[in-house]
């Protein structure tokens, strides 16, 4: 009889790309649940919409490129991209925002650059930046967390808001976002903690004054700190599962913390301190889920450290001196641009070649 011929190795770890992506999606669940708890159904709707659009776009792109659509869809990369974009945008942003962003991410950033593995930029972050620049109003209309909101719209109101811009009772998104601060007679439009601090500091208030606002219940802003903690938990799960290594989150958070600490030491009342930097905004999401995207990150161990440290530094610089309250997407895209150079100069020395180097 004749036997099956194969090339070594004949053994495989049995964890393929789809398994990795499923683990990433699983690790996102706590963070998504926290967002759902604090900000309502919007995030779930956005994720569902984004995944549907992403899968359709992925399938069409694969067909247009004469690739097998079924195997491409089964790798879950498009799902992860869509989910990351969906949780990054305001939960009740109009439906066309996420559709445009997802289409841009999948079609232009991913497939026009050659599909999975070939994209230079993190597709979710490129999509986010496109949306932020094109639709600044929709992209900054965050909801107040449930802790201080009058009430969050229910599921069907969320659907209506997303599709038509009004709840069943005829409230617009702007009206929903108004919060009775208690201190003032008029309700104010609610901003995110980072946005709030930026505005207050720019107006000459001190950090402690800015932190006196109602949004700052707890360490780094009501709701937001729990969302960040939930993503941190998910990230630790990914570390434990060895889906990601510690290098990127470690270097990113470490760099950000060091600069935040320096800022707090030298200008304690003019600059946000470490806890706000680490547990507000999209910091944990960036450290464990976005910067760790293998395709657009540096590959060698040293390269990963440099790449992530660069993101951490850029986040700090843009948050402190830039025009936007948060900075993850810009920082990640700028670092993506540096990856080829980082990879070139962080090549490990091959076995037996140490003498050539020295």
């Amino acid at each position: 009889m004749s036997f099956f011929i194969a090339s070594s190795p004949h053994h495989h770890m049995r964890r393929n790309t789809a398994d990795l992506m499923r683990l990433v999606l699983l690790a996102m669940v706590p963070g998504v649940l926290a967002q759902w708890y604090f900000f309502g159904w919007g995030v779930i709707l956005q994720i569902a919409l984004a995944i549907s659009v992403a899968l359709a776009a992925e399938a069409l792109c694969l067909l247009a490129r004469n690739r097998e659509a079924s195997s491409g869809l089964r790798d879950y990369t498009a799902v992860v991209t869509a989910a990351l974009l969906a949780i990054s945008i305001p939960p009740l942003a109009p439906w066309w925002v996420i559709v445009i962003g997802t289409l841009f991410s999948i079609v232009i950033v991913k497939h026009l650059f050659g599909g999975v593995g070939h994209n230079i930029f993190n597709p979710a972050m490129a999509g986010y930046v496109l949306l932020l620049i094109s639709f600044p109003a929709q992209m900054t209309s965050w909801l107040p967390p449930v802790t201080i909101a009058h009430e969050l719209p229910g599921f069907w109101d969320s659907v209506r808001l997303l599709l038509f811009g009004f709840t069943g009772d005829g409230y617009s998104l702007e009206q929903i976002r108004h919060v009775d601060t208690g201190a003032m007679l008029d309700a104010v439009v609610m901003a995110t903690p980072l946005d709030h601090i930026k505005t207050e500091l720019a107006q000459g208030f001190t950090l402690s004054e800015a932190k006196g606002a109602v949004i700052f219940q707890g360490v780094a802003g009501s709701g937001w700190q729990w969302v960040n903690l939930a993503y941190l938990a998910g990230g630790l799960y990914l570390l434990k599962q060895r889906v990601i290594s510690w290098h990127i989150p470690g270097a990113l958070l470490g760099t950000l913390a060091v600069f935040a600490l320096l800022g707090a030491v030298f200008a304690p009342d003019q600059l946000p301190n470490v806890d706000i930097h680490l547990f507000s905004g999209a910091t944990m999401l960036a450290a464990f889920f976005i910067a760790t995207d293998p395709v657009s990150a540096a590959t060698s161990t040293r390269g990963k450290l440099i790449y992530a440290a660069l993101i951490g530094l850029l986040i700090y610089v843009i948050r402190t001196w830039g025009g936007y309250p948060d900075a993850v997407a810009f920082a990640v895209l700028l670092a993506n641009l540096c990856v080829p150079v980082i990879d070139q100069y962080t090549k490990p020395t091959a076995y037996g070649h140490h003498e050539e180097r020295s």
Binding site: F3, P9, S300, H353
Partner: protein
């Protein structure tokens, strides 16, 4: 290595280093390593390939029909480091020809078929127990004659490896056996520890190494215990002098694939790296497999050639997995028949382990010196490769590469057939351990790409070499043609010049001739026209004769003048004489011309031709001389 602490009666631990990367695949050494090494009945027929190792092919010393005994030489030792092969058992040589090789290529190669007589009678054995009183050369020749080759990996001739190593400080006996499933060295160390240690001492004596480190992965506690005991016993037998001479230690290393790779094990034990393109001997290290040490011991102490080895028989398609002593040349088919092999559909039979082994197309190949494992896994146990997906640049391959290469970049470069890039990324340093492909989430068969690229680069290097030689040959030919062309032109120029000179000279002579009115110069014509020359010569002769006759007649007229007193008479007489003379001369001339032309024509023609040839040769010679002068 001289810093390594000398033996002080205890197992002083030496510092261990680590190598980058590596993986921890399921070890699955059990159940094959659970039972003592088995021994099956002899096969009816053995196939002994002449080439079982790196080195030249040795010459067959037997012929069909010969009866040989166990251990008899079948091929001549010692040609260009080629190893001889021996009869694994007693029997009759029934065929010398081409047989399928136990090789990834699946090709055939020269070999000898032996029909066993099932007597297994030993031939003459020549032990060398007092090797310490022999010269190193004698021992090396003995090992060569015994066909000892490395039993770990490539089957490198042991004598050659030892002879080529100078200035050895540290001798490493490799019992790491890091690849999953394989348990041959494990069982050998458990059951033949003392022989392995004695073999190591022989190697130490030959290399003067100051330390012997026996490295074993910590997943083989029984083997470690057995080796430690054997080392302790051997130490007791050593003289005090010997004990202070060198360190002898069992070193337990952490289990990590591929720690048994030569270069990786050196890095673990010494922290040093073998220079690229170098050998371990360059940093004072020599490494041998435990099985090789055992074979050396048998060859020296008992005069037994390398006739059998321990083979691991494992995988879930094998009903009774075990290790077994298998005579070299036993067909794989025969071995598997004794271990309840029940192949499934699309069964894979792997020679070696799951990481680096190769699959066999059929079982009619023999067990050879490097066959440490026959693995027959089910598809459930080791699922075949899944569908290759696009690389997602995750870098997991780089994290596990023990040679600190960038497998992902090598993959892109191999796909682009960028051979310069592959060289710059040190593809040649890839040991094909398979760790990268093992972890790749996209299930890219990376090692296959590298092997292919390596083969293409080898091919390209050969082609390049050939092209270089062809270019040199072509250029040499072009240069020669050019030179010859120039020489020819030069010769033509010379000849033309000579002709012009000759023409000018002739013209000059012709002018002189016309000026002096003589017809004397017939020579140039003689060169070219034999008929004309003959005519000329005849004319000349006639003229001479006429002149003579004129003299004669004048003499006659002289006598006549005596009688001139009678002018009338004299005038008549003279006239008669003249007429006579004229008549005579006419007749003579006619006769002369006739005979002359008849006689001279062929002879003169030949002469003229010879002269012309001589002249031509002279002209050529002159031209040549001129060439040489210039």
């Amino acid at each position: 290595m001289s810093q390594v602490q000398k033996y002080n009666g205890q197992d002083a631990d030496i510092q261990l280093w680590t190598f980058p990367g590596g993986i921890h695949p399921p070890e699955r050494k059990a159940p094959a390593n659970q039972e003592p090494i088995r021994r099956f009945p002899l096969a009816d027929e053995f196939i002994i390939p002449l080439r079982q190792h790196i080195g030249a092919l040795s010459e067959v010393q037997v012929s069909v029909g010969d009866h040989v005994r166990k251990g008899d030489l079948l091929s001549a030792p010692g040609i260009e480091h080629g190893l001889p092969v021996h009869a694994p058992t007693s029997g009759e040589i029934i065929e010398i020809g081409e047989f399928p090789l136990n090789h990834p290529s699946g090709l055939s190669g020269p070999g000898i078929r032996l029909r066993s007589d099932h007597e297994d009678t030993w031939g003459q054995r020549h032990p060398l127990p007092d090797y310490r009183n022999q010269s190193h050369l004698t021992v090396l020749e003995h090992l060569q004659r015994m066909g000892i080759a490395g039993l770990g990996g490539a089957g490198f001739p042991t004598a050659r490896k030892v002879a080529g190593a100078r200035g050895i400080d540290c001798l490493i006996i490799n019992g790491a056996e890091c690849e999953p499933y394989i348990a041959a060295d494990d069982r050998l160390m458990r059951e033949h520890a003392a022989e392995i240690v004695r073999g190591s001492l022989i190697l130490q004596w030959m290399t003067h190494a100051s330390s012997i480190l026996i490295a074993i992965e910590d997943n083989k506690p029984e083997a470690i215990a057995a080796m430690r005991e054997a080392v302790a016993q051997t130490r007791e037998q050593l003289s005090a002098e010997q004990q202070s001479d060198f360190v002898l230690k069992v070193v337990v290393i952490p289990t990590k694939y591929p720690s048994g790779g030569e270069r990786q094990l050196i890095q673990i034990l010494t922290g040093k790296q073998v220079p690229a393109h170098g050998l371990p001997a360059d940093i004072g290290i020599l490494m041998h497999n435990t099985g090789t040490a055992w074979a050396i011991c048998r060859a020296i102490e008992h005069g037994e050639p390398l006739l059998e080895r321990v083979v691991t028989l494992t995988g879930e398609s094998i009903g009774s997995p075990c290790t077994a002593w298998v005579p070299l040349g036993t067909p794989v088919q025969h071995v598997l028949a004794h271990v309840d092999f029940t192949p499934e559909a699309q069964q894979r039979v792997i020679i070696g382990g799951p990481m680096m082994g190769f699959t066999l197309p059929h079982l009619q190949v023999p067990v050879i010196k490097t066959t440490n494992c026959i693995l027959a896994p089910t598809r459930k146990e080791l699922p075949p490769a899944g569908q290759e997906m696009p690389c997602i640049r995750c870098g997991a391959c780089a994290d596990v590469c023990p040679a600190s290469l960038l497998p992902q970049q090598l993959y892109w470069l191999a796909n682009a057939q960028d051979y310069d890039g592959l060289k710059a990324h040190h593809l040649a340093d890839c040991i094909e351990c398979g760790a990268c492909a093992y972890v790749c989430p996209s299930e890219i068969p990376l090692v296959q790409y590298y092997r292919q690229a390596k083969a293409e680069m080898r091919e390209q290097a050969i082609e390049h070499h050939k092209a270089e030689i062809a270019r040199q040959r072509f250029e040499a030919r072009q240069a020669r043609l050019e030179r010859e062309k120039e020489e020819r032109l030069e010769r033509h120029a010379q000849a033309a010049k000579a002709r012009e000179e000759a023409l000018a000279a002739r013209k000059q002579q012709a002018e002189q001739r016309s000026a002096s009115g003589t017809t004397d110069d017939a020579m140039p014509d003689a060169n070219s026209d034999p008929v004309a020359s003959a005519v000329a010569r005849a004319k000349a002769r006639k003229a001479e004769r006429e002149a003579a006759r004129n003299e004669e007649s004048s003499a006659v007229t002289g006598t006549d003048t005596v009688q001139a007193q009678d002018p009338k008479k004299a005038a008549v007489a003279a006239a008669v004489a003249r007429a006579k003379a004229r008549k005579e001369a006419q007749a003579a001339a006619q006769k002369d011309t006739e005979t002359n032309t008849e006689a001279s024509t062929p002879e003169d023609k030949k002469k003229a031709a010879v002269a012309a040839a001589v002249a031509r040769a002279k002209a050529r010679k002159a031209a040549k001389q001129k060439d040489e002068d210039s």
